[in-house]
Amino acid sequence: MSKPAGAASPRAANVEVRGLVRRFGSITAVDGVDLDVAEGEVFGFLGPNGAGKSTMVRMLVTLLRPSAGAARVAGYDVVKEAAKVRRVIGVALQDAALDPLMTGRELLRLQATLHGIPRGHVEARGGELLERVGLTAAADRRVGTYSGGMRRRLDLAMALIHEPAVLFLDEPTTGLDPMSRISLWEEVRRLNIDHGTTVFLTTQYLEEADELAQRVAIIDRGRIVREGPPAELKAQVGEPTLQVVVPEGDLERAAEVLRHFGEPAPARPDSLAVHLAGGAAGLAAVVRALDERGVQPVSMELTAPSLDDVFVEATGRRLEGAQADPAVPAP
């Protein structure tokens, strides 16, 4: 999509990456990445520790120069137009860097001034964001006294102060307790729905990518190994598994029916499981067939393959618990 370069023309709040490479000495942390994030999309960048996620984000937010390749954020080149990129992005990096000696309100005020928000709007904007992330009561306390979840929420508020077109969140929930994690997810979702903010999110949590991202890219050792909507990626890995619990007397008849719908899968003693050929669409046919044979299932459960299965299929390793392996072993 080509856009006229006129200053007044609204730009697509997208991200375009072509052949991006970043080397640190003999290690190639990001190794020829291509990707596109559409305007208004929540894009999940998923990978184990040390896969190159943070290096990628640092290049996109102009903190790190690429060794090769190019990237544009909201149409601006991250190297040649770095200053313009910085004006349209919101950034919350890993390990929320907040000054423990300042209060939440002071930090927001500082961030607002750095983004050139007119003096008259600074207080109102800060107050509104504090309210939104639930920190109004703690606003005048020093950040050193905040919990991990409060810091992340303040960090998010700071990243949003200038209503950025593209928001970069680098592992926003790493180290958070489940409640804080869920409340941050809700905030990100709300932002995307209410304000149409494009979100580029890195995470090592499958659940997070699954919950939030409309599309994900899986990175491993500096390369993208899979890319697409989570449901599609999972569908590519294989059929969903249908688990059927039936009364004991019906087990045999049910097994006979299910055989027509796919390969049997391991199941608990009181139930049957099958890799449902044709995916979830075949479910209605299974129900009808069971009914015709007079089998009344106690329960039925359809389990899709997880993103972890996608990762295993792509790399031969499990993502959860995968350790920080070097992007490329040094020779």
Binding site: R58, V61, T62, L63, L64, R65, A83, R86, R87, I89, V91, L93, D95, A97, L98, D99, L101, M102, E106, R109, L110, Q111, T113, L114, H115, G116, R119, M158
Partner: protein, 255 residues
């Protein structure tokens, strides 16, 4: 460069120093303790032929101011290093504020603290009987010298912070500043020194700056002394500003 950015970041720099008493209490207390001890121990040195002042306390005012600023202004560098270690520096660098602003605001913050420090020292020592014979023009000159000196020392420590990213290294550099003070005529007049010490003190630019400041206090206001003090310290501040901006550029280019 935005004025709002400089003001906000300088304000942060100042309030962070003030919120960490360990950063400024020693730089206020030690020079005063030193002055009290030296004045007590060496008060009669004024009777030595060639001693430039009638009262040792008058002689010591310039020392206290310079020492205090020297102590205090390294806080800017340590805070900058902490910002780099914590990642706050990345936050500033990924915001639209111009990058030199980040360094200039630190130095502006150091300069403000230096001005306050010099005024406090002069007020306290005057209360104990010291006399600034050059009057208001001398006081203003001394404040300006203190500000420029704070920028010079602050700039060097910021340069070290940017180069190494380590607050430990910034603090380790502190003795260098201290030795440069001790090998100057800060504590004793050059006229009464001899041998290698006199040679070292005579090439140490701090000597000439302190002597000019001292002349404003014990001899009255002379434009020549004021200009000399300001010129020396402005040159130091200029060099250190260049070094810190260069260190900033190389840190950002490495990124």
């Amino acid at each position: 460069m935005s004025a709002g950015g400089v003001v906000s970041l300088s304000r942060r720099s100042i309030s962070n120093t003030l919120r960490q008493p360990q950063m400024w209490v020693p730089s206020m207390a030690f020079p005063l303790i030193f002055t009290a001890l030296n004045t007590g121990a060496m008060g009669r040195a004024t009777r030595l032929p060639g001693f430039p002042a009638e009262s040792f306390l008058d002689f010591a005012v310039a020392t206290a101011v310079v020492q205090g600023v020297l102590f205090g202004a390294t806080a800017g560098g340590s805070d900058m290093a902490v910002d780099i270690q914590d990642g706050f520096f990345d936050r500033l660098v990924s915001s639209p504020v111009s990058r030199p602003t980040i360094v200039l605001a630190r130095l502006a913050g150091a300069a403000v603290l230096g001005a306050v420090q010099s005024l406090v020292f002069m007020a306290i020592l005057t209360a104990f009987g010291a006399q600034v014979r050059g009057g208001a023009p001398a006081v203003l000159t001394i404040v300006a010298v203190a500000m420029l000196l704070a920028m010079a020392i602050g700039g060097l420590s910021v340069a070290i912070a940017l180069k190494t990213g380590s607050s430990e290294v910034v603090q380790a550099a502190f003795p260098v500043f201290f030795i440069s003070l001790f090998t100057s005529s800060a504590f004793f007049p050059r006229e009464l020194m001899s041998g290698w010490f006199k040679t070292v003190a005579s090439v140490n630019p701090l000597s000439f700056m302190i002597e000019s400041v001292r002349a404003l206090i014990i001899g009255g206001f002379h434009v020549g002394d004021a200009m000399r003090a300001l010129a020396i310290v402005a040159a130091l501040a200029g060099v250190s500003l260049l070094l810190s901006l260069r260190a900033l550029r190389s840190r950002l280019a490495a990124g």
